[in-house]
């Protein structure tokens, strides 16, 4: 516990340093302190995952009345590991990034507070401690979204969306905890003991309320609307933290409360979770393919991945309740490994997006291109990240999605029909989003980094500072290691996934470099796969050289016989996604406007032609707009009371006083 507490302390000191140090000496010491704190948390979490012993800590200080209770078990440690892993990168990245913007007192201090809460939330072991860190996390991230608002005016509206959604979510979580805690006591162990005695209905209500809050934080459709606004608006290291660590906290909450505190409950709970997952995976994947803003694309792909994780968590819950504990364990391991892998590649991708924005001044894919020449390191990071998220074998996304798929495929033998349907839907969603993700990320790499520059900004781009590159490489490198030798994490993963459940000794993963399921059929060895791949590629290359002894001729690709080629003639992100947008027009509902201005003299000649194509979030437009409009109408109605007459205001007050006197 000592090391973990030291990590929290270091983050707190970093926050203080960010708030107190003078501007010139603020960024580097603060960021390094934060990185040190994250490293300490990383080590502490690893130690707990290796030994499997939970550590606890309680102090009467910090919080009034109840004090602060922390307890780190392997499940919590897994999420601490995830946060700290990205946290280190975000802090290092900050050294180079903060010089222009984000160096203000508030931003630096809030960044470190955000980091602190991300490391602390999975360890909170009482309702008060949990809600304290949870709300602090929401508050600090809200302020960080606003940190760059002078450059991104849309950050204001994004912050309002995020603030409202996270506030409603927190209220819902608190209500759910209240239902469970009705019998008294507020520590998680009290709650766990009481929930066994609750009626199934009350437990179901509590779970739904809590699920609502956590799912909105995780960005599950239809509670995701804040996410594609907030993640792009926030400064890049913050987006990286939000997307890889904060969103994972929602998943953590669902696992912790559903499996641990409420003991699994009924199958339908997990059916709901899985359906949320399926909806998120498909919806996120679809929108990612049509987004042209790099960070918006990444944000939607986060929704997609969270959907996959929720499918795994839901399937694990449903299978566990249907008597297939061993398969459930595999699905849960898949979900947890995906959380960690996602943190690695999505963190790296967001940091790379920040680097691209820094270097070119834009995030619009239709204005980028050709960055592979000017920003080789960033391009490499993006290519590896894109490969991971597409689950290219030997990269980290592959191992985790493989485990997830194994869990689902072996679940077809479940006795209960709802479980089989959930599993079936999960497999279909996994397959379909795999394809959608591939489109989205081929687009990201192909349009954004290959080809020729589409704008002066992209043409003048140069590689970003050392610290930013180091941060991206740290995440990418660790991701590659996880992908190549997933066996390293097997023991830790096993412990984390088994938390809160009776351990089923018969199945799991054999120790080794690859993943070998024991008790079920299935094994992969990514390192051997990579070896084979390299051998095959070398062979093909050599044979190709032998067979084709032709002179290489260099010409412009797709020249079509024209003399002058301009970058505007290239394929764009919008045109790349256009066929898919057409196929899914019923879901995406794209809107296109063509505005033609004619020359005054003749209607046969056009002076200018404007075309606009946009894809709005259907859930937001159909689900949230009517509610917002209704609230605004009520608000405008209330303005009728406020007509500026001081007599009326005073009379209302007087009337209220009289009513209180008479009624009381």
């Amino acid at each position: 516990m000592g090391l973990y507490l030291a990590a929290l302390g270091l983050c707190a000191v970093a926050a203080a340093a960010g708030a107190l140090l003078p501007r010139r000496r603020r960024v580097t010491p603060t960021a390094l302190l934060g990185a040190l704190g994250c490293l300490a948390a990383l080590t502490a979490a690893l130690r707990i995952l290796v030994t499997g012993d939970a550590v606890t800590f309680h102090t009467a200080q910090v919080l009034p009345l109840t004090g602060l209770s922390l307890s780190l078990d392997p499940l919590g440690a897994w999420f601490v590991l995830t946060s700290a892993f990205v946290g280190v990168a975000a802090c290092v990245y900050l050294v180079g990034y903060a010089r222009e913007g984000l160096a203000s007192r508030t931003a630096m201090a809030m960044f470190m507070v955000f980091l602190l809460t991300l490391v602390a939330v999975p360890a909170a072991s009482s309702v008060m401690s949990f809600m304290f860190f949870w709300e602090l996390m929401a508050l600090s991230s809200l302020l960080l979204i606003l940190a760059d608002q002078s450059r991104h005016p849309e950050a204001r509206s994004a912050a309002i969306w995020y603030g409202v959604m996270t506030h409603l979510g927190a209220a819902s979580i608190l209500l759910g905890f209240l239902v469970v805690a009705a019998g008294g006591g507020q520590s998680f162990s009290d709650l766990s003991a009481q929930s066994s005695a609750m009626s199934p209905l009350a437990r179901g209500i509590a779970f739904l309320l809590i699920l609502l809050g956590f799912a909105s934080k995780a960005g599950a459709v239809p509670l995701h609307v804040w996410l594609p606004k907030a993640h792009p608006a926030a400064p890049s290291p913050v987006s990286a933290l939000m997307s890889s660590a904060m969103v994972a906290m929602g998943v953590y909450g669902i696992i912790r409360v559903g499996r641990d505190l409420l003991h699994g409950g009924s199958v339908w709970w997990w059916v709901v979770v899985s359906l949320l997952g399926v909806a998120s995976a498909l919806y996120g994947g679809l929108h990612a393919t049509t987004s042209t803003d790099v960070k918006r694309l990444l944000a939607y792909s986060t929704i997609d991945v969270v959907g996959l994780v929720l499918i795994g968590v839901g399937a694990a819950g449903a299978l566990g309740d249907s008597g297939l504990g061993s398969v459930a364990h595999v699905a849960m391991m898949g979900a947890l490994l995906l959380v960690l892998a996602h943190a690695g590649f999505k963190g790296a991708l967001f940091l790379a997006a920040g680097a691209v924005e820094r270097a070119t001044g834009t995030r619009d894919l239709d204005l980028l291109g050709g960055l592979i020449h000017s920003m080789p390191v960033t391009t490499l990071v993006v290519v590896v990240g894109a490969g991971s998220i597409m689950a290219v074998p030997t990269l980290s996304g592959f191992s985790s999605e493989w485990l997830l798929l194994q869990g689902l495929l072996h679940g077809f033998g479940a006795a209960s029909t709802p479980t089989v349907i959930v599993v079936l839907l999960g497999v279909v969603a996994l397959a379909l989003t795999g394809g959608l993700t591939a489109v989205a990320f081929v687009k990201l790499v192909g349009i954004g980094f290959l080809g020729r520059a589409r704008s002066p900004g992209a043409a003048k781009a140069s590689e970003v500072s050392m610290s930013m590159r180091v941060a991206m490489i740290w995440l990418t490198g660790a991701g590659v290691v996880i992908g190549l030798v997933p066996g390293l994490l097997v023991a830790a993963l096993d412990r984390a996934a088994a938390t809160g459940r009776a351990r089923d000794a018969a199945t799991g993963l054999a120790h080794g470099t690859g993943l070998v399921l024991t008790g079920l059929h299935g094994a992969i060895a990514p390192a051997a796969l990579l070896g084979g791949l390299v051998v095959v590629m070398v062979l093909v290359g050599v044979l190709n050289q032998r067979a084709t002894q032709r002179r290489v001729r260099r010409v412009e690709a797709w020249g079509c016989g024209r003399d002058e080629q301009t970058p505007r003639m290239q394929y764009t992100a919008t045109s790349f996604a256009e066929p898919l947008q057409r196929v899914f027009a019923d879901v995406l509902r794209p809107q296109a406007d063509i505005e033609v201005t004619h020359v005054a003299e003749s209607r046969y000649y056009e002076q200018s032609l404007a075309y606009e194509n946009r894809v709005v979030d259907v859930v937001e437009a159909r689900g949230y707009r009517p509610i917002i409009d209704g609230v605004l109408r009520v608000g405008r109605g209330a303005r009728r009371l406020q007509n500026g007459s001081i007599h009326r205001y005073l009379a209302l007050g007087f009337l209220a006083l009289l009513v209180v006197l008479v009624v009381a």
Partner: protein, 218 residues
């Protein structure tokens, strides 16, 4: 218990309420300010009478403070505002004078109905007078709502404060000096600020009537 003490107490407390009702009746701003002075003096008499009976020196000091601030300083300040325009009158109140008096009667009845529940907690000669304080508060608030002239509004506000002071004197046998000092000086400050505001208001719009300021909102 001496009958003089009770008699003086009842007389003074009654005078506080009576002067409050009188402010509703009179239209001339100068007359309204005189009523306020009367009320301030009556309030200090309540405090001093209680202090002499209970041998509390702190309460005696409070009484003196009330006399200085509410009996002398505030009325003097308001009189100075009123003298800038000697013929200034509360010409068209939102509720006319006879109706106001009927309302005041109703408010006094209401405060007795409500106040008996408070006095029932610790019935004594002194606490039985507490509804008078409540009635003064309500009458003051009523004045604040229905009168248009700025000075009338200030007076209404002070009536509310005096009513609260009367209630605290009667129910708690006097508040600590420091509390009363804070409250009184607050009110004095409010009057000074409002005086300043009124001067600039008159300077800008040549009127004291708040209704005509309505166009300024938004």
């Amino acid at each position: 218990m001496s009958t003089t003490y009770v008699g003086v107490l009842e007389l003074a407390a009654g005078a506080v309420l009576l002067s409050a009702v009188m402010t509703l009746w009179r239209r001339s701003v100068r007359a309204i300010v005189s009523m306020l002075r009367l009320q301030g003096v009556a309030l200090s008499v309540v405090a001093v009478d209680l202090a002499l009976h209970e041998h509390e020196h702190a309460l005696l000091a409070t009484g003196a403070l009330v006399l200085v601030v509410k009996g002398v300083a505030i009325p003097a300040l308001l009189r100075r505002i009123a003298q800038r325009d000697p013929r200034s009158r509360e010409s068209r109140p939102l509720v006319n004078v006879p109706a106001s008096l009927v309302f005041a009667a109703a408010l006094i009845v209401l405060s007795y109905v409500v106040g008996t529940r408070i006095t029932a907690l610790a019935p004594s000669v002194v606490t039985n007078l507490a509804p008078l304080g409540l009635a003064t508060v309500l009458v003051g608030y009523f004045m604040l709502v229905t009168r248009r002239h700025a000075v009338s509004k200030i007076v209404g506000l002070i009536l509310v404060d005096n009513g609260i002071a009367l209630m605290t004197f009667l129910l708690t046998s006097g508040v600590p000096l420091i509390v009363e000092l804070g409250a009184s000086l607050d009110v004095l400050l409010v009057v000074v600020v409002l005086q300043f505001l009124m001067v600039s208001m008159r300077h800008h719009s040549a009127t004291d009537r708040l209704t005509e300021m309505k166009a300024l909102h938004d």
